[in-house]
């Protein structure tokens, strides 16, 4: 079996354990130990879920973009499996971020939904990801599927900042980001659990990415070995 896969199997547990640790500590600090917000009261606690989910969905899309460039360069099918896994996870994290955002928006903005800049750009991100995943189901030839999917992912990634700026000029209601490069606008009691949760969520994503990549890889391998139709499947040279 592929050397990379064996290495993933050896180390993936550490990511899972790290994610569980960080998330448990973060949840305790965020939901129990930290004080309620001066303006928003207890409602603010959903931030510890919502913001890490949003960060992680962008991290996942960045991984997808990096992997797509890498795939077009090296044409390694395992990298394509990773892209496929990252896209699915990014879609899940994006929808969860939108969903928790709606729950948070109801008490604070008094509306479930508004066409504000960040909401709109996350919706566009979700639509691009769904298009990407649909596209993959419509192509029979695995090599072509991987190539076209990479093209769509790259174009979508380049589009995101432009979408964001255009929607930001269009209308803005969202509260300013809690932390940015210019400085921190959040008290450290709230910030520490938030960072903990962000790290935990990123580790969770990494763990899920490793498991899912393996699964897609093994599925491909199984199909190929079963049918002895190696020519029709997109495998790396080591396996065929």
């Amino acid at each position: 079996m592929n050397k990379v896969i064996r290495r993933i199997q050896r180390y993936q547990g550490w990511f899972g354990a790290g994610a569980a640790g960080c998330l448990l500590v973060g949840l305790y600090l965020g939901l129990i130990a930290s004080p309620p917000d001066y303006y928003q009261g207890e409602v603010v606690r959903i931030m510890y879920i919502h913001v890490p989910l949003a960060h992680t969905s962008l991290l996942a899309y960045t991984v997808l973009f990096g992997g797509s460039v890498w795939y077009l360069w090296k044409r390694d099918p395992l990298v394509d499996n990773m892209c496929h896994a990252a896209a699915g996870l990014s879609a899940v994290f994006t929808s969860l971020a939108l969903f928790t955002g709606m729950i948070w928006g109801k008490p604070t903005w008094n509306t479930w939904w508004t066409w504000d800049a960040r909401l709109t750009s996350f919706t566009v991100l979700l639509l691009i990801l769904i298009g990407y995943l649909m596209l993959r189901t419509f192509i029979d030839d695995p090599e072509r599927e991987a190539r076209f999917a990479a093209v769509v992912a790259i174009i979508g990634f380049v589009d995101l900042p432009i979408v964001h700026f255009s929607v930001e000029w269009w209308r803005t209601l969202h509260q300013p980001q809690s932390f940015s490069l210019r400085g921190v606008s959040i008290s450290s009691d709230l910030l520490f659990p938030l960072i903990m949760m962000s790290i935990g969520m990123s580790l969770l994503f990494t763990y899920m990415l490793l498991v899912r990549t393996q699964m897609l890889y093994l599925t491909n391998l199984l199909h190929a070995k079963k049918g002895r139709l190696l020519g029709q499947f997109h495998l790396s040279k080591a396996d065929s």
């Binding site: 691009i128 596209l135 790259i154 979408v163 700026f165 000029w169």
Partner: protein, 225 residues
């Protein structure tokens, strides 16, 4: 063949076949006409409401007809296996892309220029003073549509369910073009000072440069055989 010659031949070939068959432009035109009718039935508009909504209606009609044209741009290449010959050809793929972008731009702009007077008549618009700036907006936004749309037309023509996938992939990506075009058109039709909506024209220009470059590069991977 040199790079520029390939571009010229691609445009020429598409124009010739369009002049002979008159399929793409006429289908785009009648589809757009139907869209305008549907819109005027769906909203009962007085002068005031028309002014608010018209920019959006114009661009929805233009983008939908654009998608029809873009879809045809490569599906006509399926006849006689022309697509495979394009893929096998030693000519620069980037030049083919630019040629197709130009041809699609010409088709879409032609339809838009025929349609716009109809909007003016049906919705009582007052456009004489702003016509040059409107034409600039049409050009920039249509170029953006064509730059991304041509790439995705070449991509979706090679897969199953191509008629469905082209709009699903294309529409989210051209959200910035839609917003900028609608806002700029609204500004121009209201007779606002140019400085009030100049930033949207800049956004369109940036979009066009970025996506022409990226799609130019990506087209090679799409046309790989």
């Amino acid at each position: 063949m040199t790079f520029l010659k390939v571009i010229r031949w691609m445009v020429w070939k598409d124009l010739i076949s369009e002049v002979r068959s008159r399929e793409t432009i006429s289908s785009m035109f009648f589809f757009a006409l139907i869209v305008i009718l549907v819109f005027s039935f769906s909203f009962s508009m007085d002068q005031q409401a028309a002014r608010e909504l018209i920019a959006g209606i114009i661009w929805v009609a233009f983008v939908f007809t654009g998608i029809i044209g873009l879809g045809r741009s490569f599906s006509v290449e399926l006849q006689n296996d022309c697509l495979e010959f394009l893929q096998m050809s030693p000519a620069s793929k980037g030049a083919m892309y630019l040629g197709k972008v130009m041809a699609n731009l010409i088709f879409m702009l032609t339809v838009e220029i025929i349609l716009f007077p109809m909007f003016v008549i049906f919705f009582n618009l007052d456009v004489i003073e702003e016509i040059h700036i409107l034409l600039l907006i049409f050009f920039l936004a249509t170029f953006g549509l064509s730059a991304v749309g041509t790439l995705f037309s070449a991509l979706t023509v090679q897969i199953r369910a191509r008629e469905v996938m082209l709009p699903i992939l294309l529409l989210p990506l051209v959200v910035p073009v839609m917003i900028a075009a609608v806002e700029a058109t609204k500004g121009a039709l209201n007779g606002d000072p140019l400085a009030g909506y100049w930033q949207w024209l800049e956004l369109l220009a940036i979009f066009n440069v970025v996506f022409t470059v990226v799609s130019f590069w990506m087209f090679e991977f799409v046309m790989d055989s």
